[in-house]
Amino acid sequence: MEKLNITLYRFDPSCDAEPRLQSYDIESDGPLSVLQAIRHVYHKVDGTLSFRNSDCRRGVCGICSMMINGRRQLTCMCLATDGMTVEPPSNRTIVKDLVFETD
């Protein structure tokens, strides 16, 4: 069993004055990609988290690209690590949480 603490960006423009960072403890049977860790939070810890689920899971489409510890990367191609922070790209308009407006 692996235990991780990850921090995710939360912001609902319709009611929050400012974005906030929320930390989550997750447990899994083995290593997770960052994308899987986000889904894990949504399914097992906090169903109010908004995220996208139409990605390719294998580094082709680019939809899952986020800021991981301040660096823009594909969340499907990186391993989730204890203490990491995941945020949307800073230049995008936020729809809610990890969902931002697309081109």
Binding site: P31, Q36, C61, G62, I63
Partner: protein, 579 residues
């Protein structure tokens, strides 16, 4: 926003539902035929969908690699690979128009691998191809196709809307006239009015716990078409592959396509006792059998207690060298290595759902049995029958995408826009919004989905039998009766609420799962991708028939009908040869 109301209405001539390769090809063709087109995707148009992940190849009978190859031979391979159940007229069009379809996509700027003489490289993927016929681009064939189609969409400025989940097709009398969709980003209910609709919604891998599809492949299109009164055909033929990576979980379901690279005499898989076993499960005794046999063989070893720790078998790294992997499958190899898979050590592989061979029954115009409703790609049914041979899927989206686009434009032009029944529109808006006002006490959509996936895996997957299918169908009916009405979401927020999307998807998934299990129960034989352990033999005397499914009067009941199929001399010749 008031509950049960339409928040906005959009009008177009041709509505394309799905933004993968088939949807984009159809949209470009419909635009070029003079129609106003709108493309909707529940993901991102042009970036979501399975086409872009295509690896190995697509079949086009140019005859460059072997001059004996031509569309006629390709047709014979397709009919044999469909075990006699492919619709001959559709398979004929598919093979005859494949060459022109590739020339089109090349004229859009897609580039594929070529030989020194400038001709397209063609290779033989497996024994289902009589001659080397598959076109490739490194190990990432989907990328140039999607790039080219995105460019053509942009050039024509075809309107598109991202993250719109269609929840119902609307009708005016017998024909379709529009759709209701949920806008994920805005949380709005949208009515689209259209003269014709093209379904390009892909497959249903997400019905299973391990699959090679994108995670949004929930089979919405099948359920939408059933609801609109369209026929489905051949959906019991669910292609399960046996060479998906099972461990670690970070890469579970990713296909490892080593079987196209094996040296002669290689025995690529072994069980927990170190024995190779594939040839024991192949009627012809091959160590590298047809791809649907892989899944059955791995399943058999696991059931006999000789499986790997995560329910599969081991790939023997000695059967393909690391140099060959890096040369022929560089993207796959690097991806797996990035997540800690040591490609020089045994790798756990096993069953993954890959492709629904049937789907929305289409005619030669790519039109369903409902006027104005067209379908292209995996969501359609007819061209493949009981099994789709490797490399026929990309060709299909290009051929039938072009057809569906042109035909839908002509239909919309001739028939004009219909008028939906306003009661039906409001009833659907109210069904969709009703999830928001539910109590927070019931199971969340994902819990119900997990239950469904386990049932599909255990009873409607690689190996099926009478008792398992009957019990599973009864359980699906109970889930529709009890679980779905009790299902609740984590919050009632309208914007970016993924539970809301998943709640609507799960309802459609159970409906389609019930249809698939029903057809599998009815087919008391084994053929192609469908294997019944209680009826393990192919039965041409009784089962050279397609199973057609449709909704009856009320929304919940399904009617199953069998129809004789006449596959022609290509199939009977193959049978004679086999015996």
């Amino acid at each position: 926003m008031s509950e049960g109301a339409i928040n906005r209405t959009i009008e177009t001539d041709v509505l394309v539902i799905g933004g993968g390769g088939g949807g984009l090809r159809a949209a470009v063709a419909a635009h070029d035929a003079g129609a106003r087109v709108l493309v909707l995707s529940k993901g991102i148009v042009g970036k979501s969908g399975l086409t872009q992940t295509a690896v190995t190849g697509f079949q086009v009978a140019f005859g460059y690699a072997d001059p004996r190859d031509n569309p006629e031979v390709h047709y014979g391979d397709t009919i044999r690979g469909g075990y006699g159940l492919a619709d001959p007229a559709l398979a004929r069009i598919f093979c005859d128009e494949a060459i022109a379809a590739v020339e089109d996509i090349e004229s859009f700027g897609a580039r594929f691998d070529r030989e020194a003489d400038g001709k397209l490289t063609q290779r033989k993927l497996d024994s289902s191809q009589t001659y080397p016929r598959s076109i490739k681009k490194g190990d990432s064939l989907g990328t140039p196709i999607m790039q080219a189609l995105r460019r053509e969409m942009n050039k024509r400025d075809v309107p598109r809307l991202h993250e719109m989940l269609v929840t119902r097709l609307l009708k005016d009398g017998d024909k379709v006239c529009g759709a209701i969709a949920l806008d994920f980003q805005k949380g709005e209910i949208v009515e689209i009015r259209a003269g014709a609709i093209i379904m390009a919604t892909g497959g249903a891998g997400e019905l299973f716990p391990v699959h090679s599809n994108t995670p949004d492949s929930t089979g919405d299109g099948y359920a939408l078409a059933l609801n609109a009164g369209a026929d489905l055909v051949d959906i019991e033929f669910l292609l399960m592959l046996g060479h998906a990576v099972l461990h670690p979980a970070t890469v579970r379901g990713v296909l490892f396509t080593f079987q196209y690279l094996l040296t002669k005499g290689a025995k690529p898989l072994f069980n927990s006792e170190g024995e190779s076993f594939l040839s024991n499960y192949d009627p012809e005794g091959n160590d590298n059998p047809a791809r649907h046999i892989y899944a059955r063989a791995v399943y058999g070893e696991v059931r006999e207690g000789r499986g790997s720790p995560h329910g599969g078998a081991f790939f023997d790294p000695g059967s393909v060298s690391h140099e060959t992997l890096m040369e022929s499958l560089p993207s796959q190899t690097k991806y797996l290595e990035k997540f800690g898979v040591d490609m020089t050590q045994p790798i756990e592989v096993g069953a993954a759902a890959h492709y629904v061979c049937g789907g929305i029954k289409i005619n030669t115009q790519s039109q369903s049995t409902v006027p104005g409703l067209f379908a292209v790609g995996e969501c359609s049914g007819g061209p493949h029958g009981a099994g789709r041979i490797g490399g026929n899927s990309l060709t299909e989206i290009l051929v039938f995408g072009k057809r569906a686009g042109a035909e839908a434009a002509a239909f919309a032009n001739a028939q004009g826009a219909g008028t939906p029944n306003s009661d039906e529109v409001l009833a659907e808006a109210s069904r969709v919004t009703s999830y928001l006002s539910r109590k927070r006490t019931g199971p969340r959509p994902n819990e119900i989905k997990t239950r469904l996936q386990k049932l599909m895996n255990d009873y409607v997957g690689v190996v099926r039998n009478n008792e398992g299918l009957r019990n599973t169908i009864a359980e699906f009916e109970r889930m529709e009766r009890e679980d779905l009405p009790a299902m609740s979401m984590a919050e009632d927020n309208r914007v970016g609420n993924y539970d809301w999307i998943e709640a609507l998807e799960v309802s459609a998934m159970i409906r389609f799962a019930r249809a698939m299990a029903g057809a599998a129960l009815l087919r008391t034989e084994s053929r192609g991708a469908h294997y019944r352990e209680d009826y393990p033999e192919l039965d041409d005397e009784n089962w050279l028939q397609n199973i057609v499914i449709r909704h009856t009067g009320n929304d919940d009941a399904l009617a199953f009908e069998t129809r004789a199929c006449t596959p022609g001399p290509e199939y009977t010749a193959a049978l004679a040869e086999a015996s």
